[in-house]
Amino acid sequence: MRVFTWIVPALVMLVLTGVNAKAQSLTEGGRVSGNFQLDAQVYRADSAIGAYEVEEKMRMNTFANILYTNGNFNAGVRVESYLNPILGYDPRYKGSGVPYWFGSWKNEQFDITVGNFYEQFGSGLVLRSYEERNLGYDNALRGARVKFMPYQGVTIKGLIGTQRFFWEQGPGIVRGLDGDFALNEMFDKNGVCKTRVVLGGSFVSKYQPLEDIVVNDTSLLKLPANVASWAARFNLSRGGFSLDGEYATKLNDPSSINNFIYKKGESMLLQATYSQKGFGVIAALKRTDNMSYKSKRTETGNALDINYLPALTRQHAYSLSAMYPYATQPNGELAVQGQLNYKIKKGSKLGGKYGTDIALNYSRITSIKKETADGETAIGQSGTAGYTSPFFAFGDQLYFQDLNLELQHKFNTRYKLLVSYMYLNYNIDVIEGHPGDPMVKAHILIADMTYKYDTRNAIKIELQHLATKQDDGDWMQYMVEYTMAPKWFFTFSDQFNYGNAEKDRQLHYPTVAMGYTQGSNRLTLTYGKQREGIICVGGVCRNVPASNGLSITLTSTF
């Protein structure tokens, strides 16, 4: 026993010193970082605006990310908690858990990730897995991904995984392969060639076990267990010009979204831009035909999408101009968009001391032309080939049209102004699913003025007006914001539906808000009424029901 009283500590010391030396090299260079966000709402019932009683009174969404980095190794975890999910978020998020975790290792040639990851091939037409936290959108892949850079300018990616489905995984398995070839980096290292060329190609396949689906009361469908898709893309640029194109196609994929037809899907995106200092112009064309690609045949919500179909419209930053946002129609749309940006020079008559920024934007989206597949079967009939569609023909239905002009001018160090006019055609029947409602035609005017009365204090006044004879009629909105840089802001605003045809629906939506920011920590409080509406990011939207009460948001990055 006596011997042991000093041998044991001595041994422990030896081992620990050895372990310690190893631990130092393991933890040396290791860094932990992360972020945190909490969104909570306290609800009051308000029958006038359509805010119904919320049994829990308060709902909260929170998440925290923790990231560990050490040299070539990274690992991370995200914990989420929705108790219960805020109104407007999919109720299937209810609960708490760890839906996201990963480990990765990379060097100059390889990058391997195991666990959950996000990835995009090209523009996302065949594969895009991403997160948009304030939409509640998350189609993360869980499995493994390898990136291989064998040669400068060449990137090959391979992945396999299942997709996130709230707190579970979807029933399908997604496999993908992508190659990206920057020809100039591969063959022209000295940069002799003035034209830049990048080529790329992707192949994606999904597998879902067979199931029994019956259509037209009696037909049991013979479903494909595997559905493949592929895409090819190019980018050309020279001087101020640039041309990007991507074409994608998908094999037969009967699903709830396309009413179980066997037609192939196709999608094409073409964009041309020219810019130089003070001037930029963009023209874009996009065609989508039956390109919804999900890893579960019967899913109809905003979940389990394998690909991403960007909406070719401008994202508006003001609430009245964003009142009627466009949602991509995966079953078929043909879109054109043009944008012009110009800066009237500083020092010129119209430009003033700082110049004037002009932005003009036009988008038009219609349905695609659909014709019967064999002359007899109804278009879109379940269990058939569906229809045929000539490639460049515009269909008869207008979905969306938006013409927008914006002028921005800084008068002096204290005062700046932005004015904007928009004319909008919005097919509320198709986009929001209100059958029979007429096309909304609206004129929207915005004035946004900022007055700085000293270096750190400013007042901003926003006036907005929406004029329409359809839907809820005319709206007006004003907002006054007082900021004390860099920490504080206070806002008061009111949205008033004064033009509503029904007198008792001419409602006010007043709110007050304040916020405090310190470094990368921010707290905002908002109290008041919020109109029922739609929040869209990138053509993916979620409905926000009317609410009355207090909203708290706390966010931090460490």
Binding site: G122, L312, A485, T517
Partner: protein, 174 residues
């Protein structure tokens, strides 16, 4: 038995103390592949400004306060550069819906920053960015020394103050 435990505890404390002696260096920029406006792939861990400070600012075309921040700084950017040598790297998180509009918009506005495209949010995720605008200050050794979210008129004064303090070797404060 008690002596053994006491000895082990002392040894553990000694080892832990030893571990603390390692110098603490700041978090560096993570290694993520993004593209610049010419379509060339850039490794974010290799971003540098020859030992001078760098500002990395996350923005998007649809984010009004971000455009406000970058426009306000662009009016004074040449002065900032000649005084402090700082370089501003504007990372756009616009996805494929609007990423091709970034170059023409930046050119038309006459911004002189280095602009990167983070189309699927990989760099944003690796930097733990939640809401934009989110701006980071990186010192000459590539370490993140300060960060700030949101923008209001006059916030750029706080940013240039931090850059000046960094150059002078003074503590940055909060």
């Amino acid at each position: 038995m008690k002596k053994i435990i006491l000895a082990c505890v002392l040894i553990l404390a000694y080892s832990a103390g030893k571990a603390q002696e390692q110098p603490v260096t700041g978090k560096k920029l993570p290694s993520v592949m993004v593209k610049n406006l010419e379509g060339k792939t850039i490794n974010t861990a290799e971003l540098n400004n020859d030992g001078k400070p760098m500002i990395v600012s996350f923005w998007a075309l649809w984010c009004k306060p971000c455009i406000n921040e970058l426009t306000t700084i662009s009016d004074v950017y040449p002065d900032w550069v000649s005084e402090t040598g700082v370089k501003l790297i504007a990372v756009s998180i616009d996805d494929s819906r609007s990423s091709s509009k970034v170059l023409p918009t930046v050119n038309a506005k006459g911004w002189e920053y280095e602009v990167l495209l983070d189309v699927n949010g990989d760099f944003k995720r690796a930097m733990n960015v939640n809401m934009i605008p989110h701006t980071f200050l990186i010192n000459g050794n590539g370490e993140i020394v300060w960060q700030h979210t949101s923008f209001s008129e006059g916030s750029e004064l706080q940013l240039i103050d931090k850059v000046r303090r960094l150059n002078a070797g003074e503590p940055l404060g909060e």
